[in-house]
Symmetry: C3
Subunit: 337 residues, 3 copies
Amino acid sequence: MGYSNYTIVTLGSHSALQILKGAKDEGFKTAVVVTPDRIPLYKSYDNFIDQILEIQSWQDFPKIEKDLGSDFIIIPHGSFVAYLGMDENKKMKVPYFGNKKVLDWEEDRKMQRRWMEESGVKVPRRFRKGDKTDRPVIVKSYGAAGGKGYFTARNQKELDEKLKTFSEERFMVQEYVIGVPVYFHFFYSPLTHKVELMSVDKRYETNVDSLGRIPAKNQRGLNIEPSFEVVANIPMAVRESMVAVAVEMAQRVIKTSQKLIGPKGLFGPFCLETIVTSSEEIYVIEISARIVAGTNCFINGSPYTYLLYDEPMSTGRRIAREIKNAIKQNKLKEVLD
Amino acid sequence: MGYSNYTIVTLGSHSALQILKGAKDEGFKTAVVVTPDRIPLYKSYDNFIDQILEIQSWQDFPKIEKDLGSDFIIIPHGSFVAYLGMDENKKMKVPYFGNKKVLDWEEDRKMQRRWMEESGVKVPRRFRKGDKTDRPVIVKSYGAAGGKGYFTARNQKELDEKLKTFSEERFMVQEYVIGVPVYFHFFYSPLTHKVELMSVDKRYETNVDSLGRIPAKNQRGLNIEPSFEVVANIPMAVRESMVAVAVEMAQRVIKTSQKLIGPKGLFGPFCLETIVTSSEEIYVIEISARIVAGTNCFINGSPYTYLLYDEPMSTGRRIAREIKNAIKQNKLKEVLD
Amino acid sequence: MGYSNYTIVTLGSHSALQILKGAKDEGFKTAVVVTPDRIPLYKSYDNFIDQILEIQSWQDFPKIEKDLGSDFIIIPHGSFVAYLGMDENKKMKVPYFGNKKVLDWEEDRKMQRRWMEESGVKVPRRFRKGDKTDRPVIVKSYGAAGGKGYFTARNQKELDEKLKTFSEERFMVQEYVIGVPVYFHFFYSPLTHKVELMSVDKRYETNVDSLGRIPAKNQRGLNIEPSFEVVANIPMAVRESMVAVAVEMAQRVIKTSQKLIGPKGLFGPFCLETIVTSSEEIYVIEISARIVAGTNCFINGSPYTYLLYDEPMSTGRRIAREIKNAIKQNKLKEVLD
């Protein structure tokens, strides 16, 4: 079956526009699964979205799944697990771009930490229950989406106080590394066995990114607790010496995933969320094992993808390109789960 | 008359380069009206600027107006009212892209507020003369250009003190919403009746954006009052869930303008200036009823315009495209005033 | 000899990917000189890098130099002097794009300051040894690379204290101008005698750009000394009125260089590093007389280069275009040293 007979489908959120535009640019049919409130948005992009599949709520996804034939390929994105839930993701029968075995390793913070440590990347010190903290910490709830459920504490006393009113049951206490956040977006191709740097961004978070615009003396009166809800992403280009280091880290993360998770390991788009310190050390804070929203800055290509492709290549389009190449090489099963 | 016989003209400032490059890309003749000091800049872009019309000062615009034939179409931008004044704008005889009736609704803060409220968008609380303020406020003078004439006050006492030395006569006292600023650029086509999201930016303002780089303890010694002069704009991409909400708000703003201002309402490029809070509420701070400078980040296209156009589409070029389409459909009068 | 017989070569760092991609796009052969640790990175871009020349350390560059024939043209970048040292740069026999006489004027802060002052650009006040400082200052060591060796002091007392533990011998004490940093990237063509604005960025520095995300009250506990290591660059577009002023300043800097440094003066890519104050004055902090890393945001073109070129034009590609034009016009010697 030629690739033009396949339909690329995703949930209407996160990076769906990027994914479906990329799929259309590569010659696929496209469909979006969407709740009623968002239909107008996706309808207005009928130049690249062929089919709109309405569900009443994300929980209804299983109802529509059976209508998706074997010529549909679903592309997961950063809101997938959050919307459908872990179990629904795993049970899904529609051909799925990626390796579902990665889901557990991404979701469970202890497993993810083991993955990072065995990859030999620098990670912030972690404090276990009962440990005394000797430095500023950040507390993250498990499975937090979009920066919700994060807070910082300067010392043990502040930590104890804030934990009293923290409702999350499962959370992690981590060293707060002083430095600037940098998000590296990669694509690992199981066909070429290469890691490609796709783009780099930083997040624009509310309200924490408003703090710097309020004079210190005025902050006293306002008494703002910093929160980290992601509003947008800002494109960046990093020092070339850092590109070399980041790509090498990404390669080790892929290699370790093949050892820990199974022969296929992690493939397709992923992101290393890092903090760069003033001694130019790169700490990895998190591995996102799928397309991240920061790639939306680069729907029309990035400085880095332009090095590899002489046309506007987004991460969404790169996914479709990989599927197309797999079909052409009769290796489609290798990129699906 | 074919569209290639028309000349697109604007004032040499703000987004003139973008507007005229876009006009040339769409096949129009181009001209710029400019003061002597700026002639070298616009002359150096003779690859897309056909004609330079010199005036001694912006006030001299009426002198040159009579030389502009009916085959000239003027494109207003964010510096237009500031440079020519409100009355001059309204009196202008040259065909003008846009609806001049919008000018009053944009300039008068009370009318603009009514427009926003009737559109059902969230707006910061406003305090009238004599009202006691119970939260931090921002004070804006009417018709402020480029962030001049803004200041913040934490409470009533600070407000009273600062107002003593504030020279502006007409100003507005508004709740200071804690959150991050986001500027959404739209284009509403009266030909297709569609709102298109063109791009998103945040401003880079001096000196307020330098504060965050000065440690709190050092700020004490420096005693800097934050000011908000716009120096530059930084491109962004927002969460896709926010795109849906923003486009819907923009549609309501257009619909309301047709009710309040008259059947044509607002059309062409406009911007919603917003603050996004940590509960992910989007407050609209201001409607800019014309092309804004933030679109200059996207002269070579944006992630969002790439979804709709397979070529680099700036807001400036989109204006020229609309005029071209109107000419082809024999509807030019519908987009001019 | 046709231009396709020439090989563009540079050191594997800084903006090498941009430079070599641009050279390939213009039809040149390409080579990179690189230390062993970075070979994998440059190998992965074999779509535009033809030849990899390995050296054990940057100091070994002279060993490989003799292998580079007269059909090689070396492009210096921002890490060149830092890696090879001043003397090695000057002694280099391989044809070198640029004017080596500029090196002294760039490296010596006193000479650079004279260059800026004679260009009639605004510069921060400078304090000489023994001068009493009457305002906040920034202290920069000579030949500092990537923001290392900078610190700020609020007053004379803090300055005296910090100097006690400052190990650099040669440094400069400068007024700390309150405002936002803006980096303007230019290209001056000795063939067309025109200055082109290529792009604009701001730096993303660790740890100083993390300060603004830490509430003032928490900063007390952390006691962070701001440092300025450049991690990345963020693209921007500036107000059009500022473009006019910046291009004019750049033209004066070029003209003055021809007077001070010799008839060829500065040509090719350069950067004016500025601070813009709330009274919209543009202070020039530094002249970088070569391609800067901020141009890496624009490998796929910038809003400004799109005004001049209807294809993605990076600064790296612009260099190759200039060499190609020089070859075609039989003026290659004019752009080499």
